[in-house]
Symmetry: C2
């Protein structure tokens, strides 16, 4: 007699009238006056539970079954039969039920079968995967990761892990976490009284990385197509629903690719992964549509079928200036687009995803390729309705002279970039890449508003619990 | 005219006599007196380069082609034809060659086409992916990651990302990196003069994780089958060929699974991924067999076909005691097996992979399930010939009383494990899991001796360069 996941039963992969065992946790428990107990058993393999029908003729009915409450763990052996009940195709008629673990004091069980606020669930992050919401999110998260890996592999990309502990600072941002083994009560000092990082684990000041891009470029400039999929850290003191101190990022980098190539690639990737989510996670997506945001399925479908608009930053500014809409942040060439501008473009003006290209160089990092106009760089942001920017990328400056000039303009010490510059000295190639915030994409797909609810154990200012 | 990866040409996917473009870097360049240049072009898509045959009738032959050296980047457009040369099936007859980037001073090019020591290559880690060795390693690494994800997905496992920044310490080990944003020159103090971590980013002392297991258990105890695949950190001051300060780990965790279930699973996983490596990375594996260790292909094949031996620690000790072999570390019940003992068991005694089970509780962490004998725990180590331990796992202690007793014995404060204990209070289930060091497995597969050469940018004591 085999143990089967509930998804196989509900999909009809288990022949009717065959005897199997399912294992999981009780979602709800209802005993009828007719001496039958209906147990809804969940094992995480899919959104739905399986109903177990248990007769009071079972040997441990009084002793065990009548004590079952939400959250108890059980194994149910019996026959799979077609169900006459509403909303389910199959049920299991129990021959034997084994109880593994009861719930300590069911009245105070933190995951009792009732509505819990998202804030409360974060306080019990170790138990919240037992909810429908976090369960569905976790399956979508898994399938999204899998489909990204699959897309990359099919396109000939190699997965690269770039280092998390680093001495360099890609974006020139100051908001990094220090990594150290120095004893804070006995900091070693140099003769002139400065902290002596030479005594630290790595012999230097080290931080957690904010991007794998520069390292990724080194591999793209050798193996052509690579991507990173790994954690990234930002010590930004932002207590918002869009920021995490620790999150996952996907960063493809492609040798011989122009900005145009990479925008086509980004569009294809989004459509590919959205299609897989809709197909393989239909039950979870239906839940999100019912409970979180009724648009989540439709908007993915629309994106899959849309032709993305591409336009220059300069054109975008013209549209925003001439649209008669009053923005909080006034519009002028040279400024960064803020969320309200991005959303106006995608939600009001174009109503499809928009790729804005060729931004002013002064609002973009040093590594982006300067255009012939001398004022803009070959950057792109991909904006989607409902959230705004979801992907940001660029063609990288592959010409050593231009790169050095940019480093100097910005006041970065080119000696610190010696190895990055080497990539331009030895067989340099045009190359492009982008960054996709994995959690932001999950939030978009599921409609979950706060990014802390799309990662198992969120890290944010004043919170590193669990 | 389409741009194609070299793997497609060499696999015969491009029809003969069709016109295509390939892009990549020059491996070698040889011009014959007959006015023909033979260019070996590599793009990272597979182990081998494609030979381009370039006639001196090309318009830029003098200006560009004759200046090409190892490492230059080119695009070659021409017809794919069957090759008469030795060791290659196809070549490209160039109609046009475009040079993207030359090499600054070819005489000092760090990646000149000659033998480089592994130590030297680590000093130019930004360029070493251009070598045959690191290229092949990177493709194996990619395929290994992909095959692990694929195996897990097919078995119904969900990928979970567990937090990297943590306040807890799974193994009770002291060797962790501190993560902080405190200003070291102005450390905040409490009224009694201690460092005030309440002022730190997370409001507490935080570290980089040494394992995702405890967090993984929380998800397995809700969704049944999960695995982590993410980075792990150890601030161990070990300058050996087997240690990294930052490495990747795969940690499956399975609800309702016993130690026996998880050993069967581990064996199946290894066989599955080895088979994919041998099939999909045959060219790279042949290179490793030729250059690094002639056994690498054979030993994977042997493992795929082997029945793994399972035996108890106590039996293993008996074998080691009675074998007449003189070990550096004398053998007695209660000790940890060291590498020499493990290798004797797999290489001399059994000659197939061995799973040693049920170790003395005193040499294992608190979370392992105590056996009925009261002396041993349901732990397992999977040992393979040539390297020793490659997987370590256990059934977890799911009984609250026993867990509390262990925490007390070891002197750990059970309040710190409140959420881990909750998993035992609410619907506890037997569950098991293991940890697989991703880099150790790559080292084993490829035969590469030093673990610093199987990760793009290694981190070790006094080294966080690039």
């Amino acid at each position: 007699m085999s143990i089967v996941p509930i998804i196989d039963v509900l999909k009809g992969c288990v022949p009717s009238d065959s005897e199997v065992t399912v294992q999981g946790w009780v979602r709800t428990c209802r005993d009828s006056k007719a001496g039958i107990c209906f147990l809804s058993v969940y094992d995480g393999s899919c959104f739905h539970s399986l109903q177990a029908v248990i007769k009071n003729t079972l040997i441990n009915y009084q002793k065990d079954i009548l004590r079952l409450t939400t959250g108890c763990s059980v194994s149910v052996t019996g026959f799979i039969v077609e169900s006459l009940g509403r909303g389910q195709c199959y049920e299991i008629q129990a021959k034997a039920v084994k109880v593994f673990g009861l719930v300590d004091d069911p009245d105070t069980y933190p995951m009792a079968a009732k509505h819990h606020s998202m804030e409360y669930l974060r306080e019990v992050a170790h138990l919240r995967p037992r909810t429908n919401l976090i369960g569905a999110m976790t399956r979508v998260r898994h399938t999204l990761a899998r489909s990204i890996h699959k897309f990359m592999d099919e396109q000939g990309f190699l997965w690269i892990s770039t280092p998390l502990i680093t001495t360099s600072n890609t974006e020139g941002s100051g908001e990094m976490f220090r990594v150290s083994t120095l004893d804070l009560e006995n900091l070693p000092r140099t003769p002139v009284g400065e902290i002596n990082y030479n005594k630290d684990f790595f012999g230097k000041e080290t931080f957690l990385t904010v991007s794998g891009q520069l390292n990724g470029e080194s591999y793209a400039c050798a193996l052509s197509k690579i991507y990173t999929f790994g954690p990234i850290f930002r010590a930004e003191n932002s207590n918002t629903s869009r920021h995490l101190a620790e999150f996952w990022m996907v960063e493809p980098e492609v040798a011989f690719a122009t900005l145009s190539d990479i925008t086509i690639f980004a569009e294809a990737m989004l459509k590919y992964v959205f299609q897989i989510i809709l197909t393989e996670r239909a039950d979870d997506m239906q839940f999100f549509a019912n409970r979180i945001n009724k648009e989540v399925i439709n908007r993915l479908k629309k994106i899959i079928n849309a032709d993305f608009i591409q336009l220059d930053y300069t054109e975008a500014i013209e549209i925003l200036k001439s649209c008669n809409y009053v923005f909080e942040n006034p519009v002028s060439w040279g400024m960064n687009l803020s969320s309200e501008h991005e959303r106006y473009l995608v939600e009001t003006h174009f109503k499809v995803p928009v790729i804005v290209k060729n931004y002013p160089k002064d609002i973009k990092p040093f590594y982006m390729r300067i255009n012939n106009d001398g004022k803009t760089v070959a950057a792109m942001d991909l904006l989607v309705p409902g959230i705004g920017e979801i992907i940001g990328g660029s063609q990288r400056e592959e010409r050593l002279n231009q790169l050095d000039q940019r480093l100097e303009e910005i006041g970065l010490n080119k000696e610190n970039y010696w190895w990055y510059r080497d990539l331009r000295r030895y067989g340099t190639v045009p190359h492009s890449g982008f960054g996709l915030g994995f959690e932001r994409l999950i939030a978009y797909i599921t409609g979950i508003k706060n990014i802390r609810d799309v990662i198992p154990f969120p890290r944010s200012p004043r919170n590193a619990n669990f």
